[in-house]
């Protein structure tokens, strides 16, 4: 039987209250939202917080809101809510692609976008999604609010810029016209960690060339977007040869590990093939948006 080590439990009643509790208990405390990463770690005694601060009552962090040229998503927004949001799917189809393959439907009822990003598991999908979409992370702490790019927020496996007395409150996604995005993952079975996954976001210029593009990989040993792929895509017209080249660059840039989910060669092959597929789909979607 797996039971966490003893801890004290407290429910935050507001973001301010959560920040007050965090500043009081700091490094000895952990914030719990969905709990589907933290509780298993506590049950295995890999994590032994003295205080657990439950933020599930902070409905003020559970929202999806269009605000000018940004889509604002509260950190406590559940995976199921994101998956079922027509507004999110319309603006960022990559989110629906990714959410439909995150864990399983029952885990998605509890898990949150903020929890996934803060856990920063190397096989976690939303870090890649937020990265290629150019999302910003809004963090609050005793010093007030700070807004970070994903490159600054996501520091590597299990590590983010959010300090022990800070709370990730919101993600802000820039809404761009003539844009498309896509995500594809290879997993051995539903709910397993990814063998590998790729995400892409593409924005077209008025003349049909690629104004901006980003490619990201999940579980393939790369914490941030494939800069070389973005560079080779920009200014070009979407074409199969271009996607092949971007795939080659993604495979060269990644640094996967050999494990029970597959050897390095296979994972590099996935980086290549999945990059091509998501670019094809992202460009098709961007063109459809342009026509629509």
């Amino acid at each position: 039987m797996q039971i966490p080590a003893p801890f004290d439990y407290v429910r935050a009643t507001s973001v301010d209250d959560a920040l007050e509790l965090l500043s009081r208990h700091g490094a000895e405390s952990r914030v719990v939202a969905g709990g589907h990463s933290l509780l298993p770690m506590m049950k295995l005694r890999l994590s032994r917080p003295e205080w657990l601060i439950d933020i599930n009552d902070l409905y003020e962090l559970d929202f999806i809101l269009r605000d000018g040229d940004k889509l604002r998503v509260g950190a406590l927004t559940r995976h199921t809510t994101l998956l079922e949001s027509a507004e999110v799917a319309g603006l960022f189809p990559i989110v629906r692609d990714a959410e439909s393959v995150i864990a399983d439907p029952i885990v998605r009822n509890r898990g949150t976008i903020g929890g996934s990003l803060c856990q920063a598991d190397p096989a976690e999908d939303l870090s890649t999604v937020c990265d290629v979409l150019g999302a910003e992370a809004v963090i609050r702490g005793p010093g007030g609010e700070r807004i970070l790019t994903m490159a600054d927020f996501h520091r590597g496996p299990y590590e983010t810029a959010a300090g022990p007395d800070e709370l990730l409150c919101e993600l802000r996604f820039p809404v761009r016209s003539r844009s498309g995005s896509a995500y594809e993952k290879v997993e051995r079975r539903v709910g397993d960690w990814a063998v590998g996954a790729a995400g892409a976001s593409v924005t077209l210029a008025g003349d049909g060339t690629i104004a901006d593009a980003a490619v990201g990989l999940t579980a393939l040993g790369l914490d941030h977007t494939v800069a070389e792929a973005g560079a080779v895509l920009r200014g070009q017209r979407p074409a199969e040869e271009l996607f092949v080249e971007a795939g080659r660059l993604a495979a060269a840039a990644c640094d996967p590990v050999d494990d029970q989910r597959g050897p390095i060669d296979y994972k590099r092959h996935l980086a290549d093939e999945l990059t091509r597929r998501v670019l094809r789909l992202a460009c098709t979607r961007a063109i459809q948006t342009q026509e629509g």
Binding site: M1, Q2, Y9, V32, G35, L39, P105, V107, G191
Partner: protein, 186 residues
């Protein structure tokens, strides 16, 4: 710490340690052992209960986190001595073999049908994709859920027409056919 919640419509209050998981609270403190405890790692789904109507894996929810919420376990599926249509479907279509996954499967099916009264095969399979049937009886589980969808008032001959009309369009002819069959057998 003291926790209060509603379990199958009853208010319960207990003094527990914060680290007690909902599955153990339900089984050991409340004595509701219909909720099963399986992999302990939120993979198998046998511990599924409904929390505010949504299926959750109770091995990965603290009882303290469920405080103030509405919990429904398999013991709360039947009402007034009548089995829920989902339970009747599992009987009619042989949706269980060893029975270990059954309570979780039925609760997920109940939540699915509450949200989507006419799911297709793919929707049913997706809904139960976080749950494992070690007997591999998925085909009959899917058929059981279809049965429940087609019989929203169950197979009870005493079901009123009004209750039947609250459900699917094809429920009335279905019930009528069954009544005829019953009469023929009799």
């Amino acid at each position: 710490m003291q926790i209060n919640m509603t379990v199958n419509g009853n208010e319960v209050t207990n003094d527990i340690e914060p680290r007690v998981l909902l599955v153990h609270y339900v089984r050991e403190v409340l004595g509701l052992t219909g909720t099963h405890w399986g992999c302990d790692t939120s993979n198998c789904g046998t511990c599924v209960v409904l929390m505010d109507g949504q299926p959750v894996k109770s091995c990965t929810v603290l009882a303290a986190m469920a405080a103030g919420h509405d919990i429904r376990t398999v013991e709360g599926l039947a009402a007034g001595g009548t089995l829920d249509p989902v339970q009747q479907g599992f009987m009619a279509e042989h949706g269980l073999q060893c029975g270990f996954c059954t309570s979780g499967m039925m609760l997920t099916a109940r939540a699915l049908l509450d949200k989507n009264p006419h799911p297709d095969d793919t929707e049913i399979r997706q809904a139960i994709s976080g749950q494992i049937c070690r007997c591999t009886g998925y085909a009959t589980i899917v058929r059981s859920v279809h049965w429940a969808a087609a019989h929203p008032a169950g197979a009870d001959a005493a079901a009123t027409v009004d209750a039947v009309l609250d459900g699917t369009d094809n429920a009335v002819p279905d019930i009528a056919t069954e009544l005829v069959e019953t009469e023929v057998k009799a």
